[in-house]
C-alpha cells in the first residue's frame, strides 16, 4: 500500500469492505488444506463438507430475515436476483397475465429487467414516488389490474435511503393474488426483516453491501404460498432447478458469515451509525441552501443525500477529493442527465445536479464525520464564489424564470 493517505470512505451504499471475520472464513474454503470441494459431489468427503458449509451459510442468510433455509437460492448478486425474480415470474405466469407494477426510483437491475420484458410484449406501470421518495399506497393500488402478475418495489432506495412500507404493499398484493418482489440489497442487515410476517414472495439480497464479498447474492423464493419462477440460467439443476451452476463455496460461506454477524450486531451498529448520520446532518444544516433529498424519518441509518444548491456535484466531488462519496450528477457520462431518482422526486435540475450521497458504515468514526463537515463547508463556499447561479440567487433572481440557452 502506498504512503499516500487514502480518502475517508463514505460510500458504503456502493460497497463495503469485507469484514475481517468474513475474510477468515472465506480463506478457509479455498486451498487444498481447506474446505474447497464441490457441494454437488456426493461420492466423497470433500463434497459432503462443502455441502455442510453451504447448508450452514443458507441457515445464516435465512436467519437474518426469518425465512426457511430452503427458500434461499444462491445467485451472483442482487442484480442477478432481481433479473431472476422479475423475468422468472413474468415468464412462468405469462398465461395468467402480462402486467407488472414497479416504481421509477427502482435500481437499474429492476428497471432494465422490466424494459426487457416490455420488448417481449409485457406491459409495465412505472409509479411516480411522492416528493419525499415514498410511494403513495393508494396510487399503487389503483395501478393493480386483473392481469397484474407482479409488483416489484425496493425496500431501501440506494440513492436516497428511504424505506418503503413493504408490509402494507404486501397486504395489497396478497389480497389480490399478485406476487410481490422486494429488492432488499440496501436493507438486509440494516433494518429488521421478518419474512414470516411480511407478505413478500421474492426478495433479493447482496453480500457486498453487508461486509461480505462481491459476486454473491441470494434470492428468497417463498414456499408457502408458493412462488414459482422460470429459471434464467440452465445447467446442472442446482438450487432446485432455479439457478444452475456449481456453488461458489468460499463466496457463499462469506455471505453466510456476513449475514450471521449482521443479525448479531445490527441493533447496536445501527444506533452508532444513526448518531453519526445525525451529527453529519446537523453540521450541514447550518449552511445556507442545503437540502435533504428523501424523507428523514423513513430512512435507513447510514444514508444522507444532500443537495448543496448552486454548486455542481462533479466539481464538488473534485473539491472534496479527500472523501470517497458519490454524486447524483451524471456529468461524467455522455448523457449529462442528473440522477433519475432525484428527478423522479421532482427535484429541479440545479438541485439534482448538486447532490452528494454520503453513506456511513461499520468503520466510520466521529473524526471522519467532523472532517467531512469541515471540508464541505470550506469547499462549498469556495465553489459558490465561482458560481454565477449563486450570484443570481444572492441578487434575488428566481432561476426558474430565467430563459436558459440549453445546449
Amino acid at each position: 500500500m502506498s504512503e499516500v493517505k487514502r480518502p475517508i470512505y463514505l460510500d458504503y451504499s456502493a460497497t463495503t469492505p469485507v469484514d475481517q471475520r468474513v475474510a477468515d472464513v472465506m480463506c478457509s474454503h479455498l486451498v487444498m488444506d481447506g474446505n474447497f470441494g464441490n457441494a454437488a459431489s456426493r461420492s466423497h468427503a470433500y463434497g459432503w463438507e462443502a455441502d455442510e458449509a453451504i447448508k450452514q451459510a443458507r441457515k445464516n442468510v435465512a436467519g437474518l430475515v426469518n425465512a426457511d433455509p430452503r427458500e434461499i437460492v444462491w445467485t451472483s448478486g442482487a442484480t442477478e436476483s432481481d433479473n431472476l425474480a422479475i423475468k422468472g415470474v413474468a415468464h412462468f405466469y405469462k398465461k395468467k397475465g402480462k402486467h407488472i407494477v414497479t416504481c421509477k426510483t427502482e435500481h437499474k437491475a429492476v428497471l432494465d429487467s422490466c424494459r426487457q420484458l416490455e420488448r417481449e410484449g409485457y406491459e409495465i406501470t412505472y409509479l411516480d414516488p411522492e416528493d419525499n421518495g415514498l410511494i403513495d399506497l393508494a396510487k399503487l393500488e389503483q395501478a393493480l389490474r386483473d392481469d397484474t402478475v407482479l409488483v416489484s418495489i425496493m425496500h431501501v432506495n440506494n440513492e436516497i435511503g428511504v424505506i418503503q412500507d413493504i408490509a402494507a404493499i404486501g397486504e395489497l398484493t396478497r389480497a389480490r393474488g399478485i406476487l410481490f418482489h422486494v429488492d432488499a440489497a440496501q436493507s438486509a442487515g440494516k433494518i429488521p426483516i421478518d419474512l414470516q410476517q411480511l407478505k413478500v414472495d421474492l426478495m433479493s439480497f447482496s453480500a457486498h453491501k453487508v461486509y461480505g464479498p462481491k459476486g454473491i447474492g441470494a434470492l428468497y423464493v417463498r414456499r408457502k404460498p408458493r412462488a414459482r419462477i422460470e429459471a434464467q440460467m440452465h445447467g446442472g439443476g442446482h438450487e432446485r432447478g432455479m439457478r444452475s451452476g456449481t456453488l461458489a463455496t468460499h463466496q457463499i460461506v462469506g455471505m453466510g458469515e456476513a449475514f450471521r454477524i449482521a443479525k448479531e450486531e445490527m441493533a447496536t451498529e445501527n444506533d452508532r451509525i444513526l448518531s453519526l448520520r445525525n451529527r453529519l446532518w446537523n453540521g450541514f444544516k447550518e449552511m445556507e441552501e442545503v437540502y435533504l433529498n428523501g424523507d428523514l424519518e423513513q430512512r435507513v441509518a447510514g444514508n444522507l443525500n444532500v443537495s448543496f444548491n448552486y454548486v455542481e456535484g462533479e466539481s464538488l466531488i473534485m473539491a472534496i477529493k479527500d472523501l470517497a462519496v458519490s454524486s447524483g450528477s451524471a456529468c461524467t457520462s455522455a448523457s449529462l442527465e442528473p440522477s433519475y431518482v432525484l428527478r423522479a422526486l421532482g427535484r429541479n435540475d440545479e438541485l439534482a445536479h448538486s447532490s452528494i450521497r454520503f453513506s456511513i458504515g461499520r468503520y466510520t468514526t466521529e473524526q471522519d464525520i467532523d472532517e467531512t463537515i469541515r471540508l464541505l463547508k470550506t469547499q462549498v463556499e469556495k465553489l459558490r464564489e465561482l458560481s454565477p447561479l449563486w450570484d443570481m440567487y444572492k441578487e434575488g433572481i428566481d432561476l426558474s424564470t430565467v430563459q436558459w440557452a440549453a445546449h
Binding site: Y310, V311, E312, G313, E314, S315, M318, S329, C331, T332, S333, A334, L336, P338, N348, D349, E350, H353, E385, L386, S387, P388, L389, W390, D391, L399, W404, A405, A406, H407
Partner: protein, 136 residues
C-alpha cells in the same frame, strides 16, 4: 474521471474569477449554458477604446472541465482584439486542456461564451456594423 494536470491546475487555481459591472458600456457579458445541463458559464470582457480586450472575468457553475475551460479562456482573450477573440475555437481549448471526448462540450460552451460577450459589447456600443461581415 481522470483529468489532465492543466485542468486540475485551472480548477484548483482558477484565473480571473469575478464580475464586472454589467451596465458599464466598456463591459460585454456572455452567459451561456443551463442548469438543466449541469453547466452555466458567465464570461465578461472589458474593452478599451482601441477595441482591445484589456481584462476578463468569469464565473462558472459546472464540472472541473467547464471551470478550467472558462478560466483558460479569460487568460487567452486578454490583449486580443474582438476579432481575434472571436477566432478562438473550442478545439483549441479542448486540445490545450486535453479534455476527454465526453467533456468537449465544455469547450464548446466556452467558445459560445466569448462570442456572446463580444455580441453583448457590440450591441451596447452600437458599433456592430464594422464586424458583422466577419462574424460566424
Amino acid at each position: 474521471m481522470s483529468y489532465s494536470n492543466k485542468v486540475l491546475d485551472h480548477y484548483e487555481n482558477p484565473r480571473n474569477v469575478g464580475s464586472f459591472e454589467k451596465t458599464d458600456t466598456k463591459v460585454g457579458t456572455g452567459m451561456v449554458g443551463a442548469p438543466a445541463c449541469g453547466d452555466v458559464m458567465k464570461l465578461q470582457i472589458k474593452v478599451n477604446q482601441e477595441g482591445v480586450i484589456e481584462d476578463a472575468r468569469f464565473k462558472t457553475y459546472g464540472c472541473g472541465s467547464a471551470i478550467a475551460s472558462s478560466s483558460l479562456l479569460t487568460e487567452w482573450v486578454k490583449g486580443k482584439t474582438l476579432d481575434q477573440a472571436r477566432e478562438i475555437k473550442n478545439t483549441e481549448i479542448a486540445e490545450e486542456l486535453e479534455l476527454p471526448p465526453v467533456k468537449v462540450h465544455c469547450s464548446v460552451l466556452a467558445e459560445d461564451a466569448i462570442k456572446a460577450a463580444i455580441e453583448d459589447y457590440q450591441s451596447k456600443n452600437g458599433d456592430a456594423s464594422d464586424d458583422t461581415q466577419q462574424s460566424a
